[in-house]
């Protein structure tokens, strides 16, 4: 698999993301935000975490106007797979490629810890190696992860199976972490080729370091 990892001024998870996919045996290429084209014959675009453009105005609001985002949009419209992690999720919602928006955490804190997540839907390329209802342990690190969507939008998410993950306890019951609507931690678009989540699967690759649950998530894209 060939993975394009985007890089904006202020991105800081691009090397972790690269390391993760390299470790899984894939080839990766960093793509600077000023590029107007994505590399040839790629299988996945990852918009990694960080603080693109210093989170000025709103997290992700400036990055979405970068030249490379036009190419990413076109790639997704042709069915290409795009994964946004943390700031990448914020960028994809700001770009209108994913529904909803991410607001400041309801406790106003930057939350950085391991967090249990319950798999809500697995009929997609991202989570097909996980079981529905399974609990994964993945680190979160964000200040603006409070997912908001209006009632109508929420009904559509539920009806189409677009809710990927919810913050949960060890048994899979939803818990309030940052104020997200129904504890949503990740969603995908209606055609299920664009994915966004606040947790960092690329930081959960080694049991020794706390969790290796991220491996199965990222490996999902191999099928």
């Amino acid at each position: 698999m060939k993975v394009a990892v985007l890089r904006f001024p202020g991105t800081n998870c691009e090397f972790d993301t690269q390391y993760a996919f390299d470790k899984l045996g894939h080839t990766t290429e960093l793509v600077w935000h000023e590029e107007e084209k994505l590399p040839e014959s790629i299988d996945l675009v990852v918009v990694p975490g960080g603080f693109s453009y210093g989170d000025y105005l709103r997290s992700g609001s400036i990055a979405r106007f970068s030249p490379v985002m036009k190419a990413v949009k076109a790639y997704a419209e042709e069915g290409g797979r795009v994964l946004g992690i943390c700031n990448g999720f914020q960028i994809l919602t700001e770009a209108g490629m994913l529904p909803g928006a991410l607001k400041r955490n309801n406790n106003l804190h930057f939350i950085s810890k391991y967090q249990n997540l319950c798999v809500i839907n697995n009929d997609n390329a991202f989570l097909n190696r996980c079981d529905k209802g399974e609990v994964l342990n993945i680190p979160i690190a964000h200040a603006d992860g409070n997912y908001y969507i209006d009632d109508e939008g929420f009904q559509a998410l539920e009806a189409n199976g677009q809710i990927l993950l919810r913050y949960s306890d060890a048994e899979g019951n939803p818990v309030v972490v940052n104020g997200s609507v129904t504890s949503i931690a990740g969603v995908c678009n209606a055609s299920k080729n664009v994915y966004g989540l606040m947790p960092h699967p690329e930081r959960a690759l080694e049991a020794l370091l706390g969790s290796e649950d991220g491996v199965r998530m990222l490996k999902g894209f191999e099928s």
Partner: protein, 79 residues
């Protein structure tokens, strides 16, 4: 010409910063505070004297960048 744009979270969208400031004001003894909303003000200097054109342009700026209309409302004053 100057445009003043105010951006606030929509009614019904919880404003955690406003809520925190509200609690702080209460604990300082300001008992009459009913609600606090925190937003941002963006001041834009425009190189035009055409008020109608300026308003249309600033509205487009708000829709495309300055506000995220999924969660925010905005007002425009042209002076």
């Amino acid at each position: 010409m100057t445009a003043i744009v105010n951006v606030f979270l929509k009614e019904g969208v919880l404003d955690p910063q406003g809520k925190a400031a509200h609690h702080a004001l209460e604990s300082l003894g300001f008992g009459d505070v009913e609600d606090v909303r925190i937003g941002k003000q963006i001041v834009i200097k425009l190189n035009t004297d055409d008020k109608v054109k300026a308003e249309a342009e600033v509205k487009e700026m708000c829709e495309t960048l300055l506000a995220n209309t999924v969660i925010e409302d905005y007002t425009i004053e042209i002076a």
